[in-house]
Amino acid sequence: MTTAATESTGIGDGIPATTSSKATKVLGWLTLAGFAVLVALAFAWVPEDTRITEQGDVVGQFDAVRLMFVHVPSAILAYTGFGLTFLASLAYLRWRTDWWDMMAHASAEIGVLFGGLTLVTGSIWGRPTWQTWWEWGDVRLVTTLVMVLVFIGYLAVRRIPADVAVKARRSAVIALVGAVNIVIVNRSVDWWENRTLHQQSTLIARKIRDETLFTLSFSFAVGMVLFAWLLLHRFRTAYLQSQIEELEVNEALAERRAEAGISESPGGRP
């Protein structure tokens, strides 16, 4: 890794070859600092989750509750990513600009990353809390799984070498159908098992400790900053890719013209 170039401020010593900018550096450092604080809050400040039942038994998630601070923000980032993909795809079909296409691609990739993490951390949390790695009776779990699968397919289409406009249009339709599909899957799975293990809206329905609530909100905030940082970098990577493709086309065009025996400059003739 050539770290020297990125550590510099970027002004005065040439333009370093990275996708970083002032904005991403601020976001990056904010993420790191926020994460450090989150770890401290999650492990040192938040008390374990216990309740005493009327029979006098001690029940609750105990320290497993600390997994919530990665699981819940992951889920929120996943849905944010897919939501953004949906909106960007709509915008692409409306305005047909590469910008929206790249935005849809970048956010879908981040959505799949966090969707996968949601499933994994949910599983790890479910094992001690529900005594199972996977619970088919839970609507949110199954819906998230299907959604991640749909967007894995979406990314597979994006990876196919094909005409840029063709791929962009087809991907956009897949994203729209995928988003509509989430609603159908959610409803059908809900009816499929008319019961749910998931805590119905944890934040409102059950008594939740103030410390836990604050740390959860804080983890959302850190997650959002991380999301913005990742999205900027990923979007710029996609943009660079498109620039390189454009340069290659120009090169091939020049070659094609040379083949035809005309000079490169517009209007020029041999």
Binding site: L93, V146, L149, V150, I152, G153, Y154, A156, V157, I160, A162, D163, A165, V166, R169, R170, V173, I174, L176, V177, G178, V180, N181, I184, V185, R187, S188, V189, W191, W192
Partner: protein, 222 residues
């Protein structure tokens, strides 16, 4: 527009009747899958009877992938897909025509497989009306979603592997709904079969509308 759609239906079904790919390859494949399920469940007649609805619909979905892929492969084989674009037929008619043709094939497949399930898995039918309606609605849902996704991957080169990845998660609600309705029809579980029929019909309607609306944009390119 309806005339054009019927033209496409007639063309697709006539090709399938002539080539016998469905009868000679897809149906034997589906029956083989049923037999494999029986092997997997270890000759447990009771388990087979209980799970027959789910096994039946998984088999139908797998066979449907082949039928959908075939429907688009026929058009792409010798440039007929370009001709369809040049013909000036309304894209909605092309979508409708292909979906109806696929649905008809699926219904035929369901009838044959249904007979297979009754014979091999020893199930008895309690509600014929529900069985027929659910079969038709599920076929319509798979056909509309399948036609939309078939067009999405057509001409992308790797459609044989891409279609299952994209389509199967999308038709998961059909599997859930149709399985529940069949459980009720076979009397193996007290599900509310007619309510599930509503889900199947809704699915078919949503994908029918979505496919018809977006087909033009999908075909517009080359």
């Amino acid at each position: 527009m309806f005339r054009d759609a019927w033209l496409i239906v007639g063309k697709d079904l006539r090709i399938e009747m002539r080539s016998r790919v469905g009868l000679n390859q897809i149906v034997p494949f589906a029956v083989t899958v049923l037999v494999l399920f029986a092997f997997a469940l270890d000759t447990d007649q009771e388990a087979l009877r209980t799970y027959a609805p789910g096994l039946f619909w998984v088999t139908v979905l797998l066979a449907a992938l082949l039928a959908i892929g075939r429907s688009f492969a026929v058009d792409l084989a010798d440039g007929a897909a370009d001709r369809l674009l040049l013909s000036g037929i309304d894209p909605i008619a092309v979508f409708g025509g292909k979906a109806v043709a696929i649905a008809v094939q699926l219904v035929v497949l369901e009838v044959l497989l249904g007979a297979g399930v009754v014979l091999l898995f020893d199930v008895t039918v309690h509600r014929y009306g529900l069985l027929v309606c659910a079969g038709l609605a599920a076929a319509a849902g798979v056909a509309t979603a399948g036609t939309l996704y078939g067009a999405l991957v057509a001409g992308l080169g790797v459609r044989e592997t891409l279609l299952p990845v994209l389509l199967l998660p999308v038709v998961a609600p059909v599997l859930i709904g149709a399985t529940r309705a069949f459980q009720d029809a076979f009397g193996v579980a007290g599900a509310e079969g007619w309510a599930w029929l509503g889900l199947l019909a809704g699915f078919a309607a949503i994908y029918g509308v979505f496919g018809a609306l977006s087909y033009g944009a999908l075909l517009e390119e080359a």
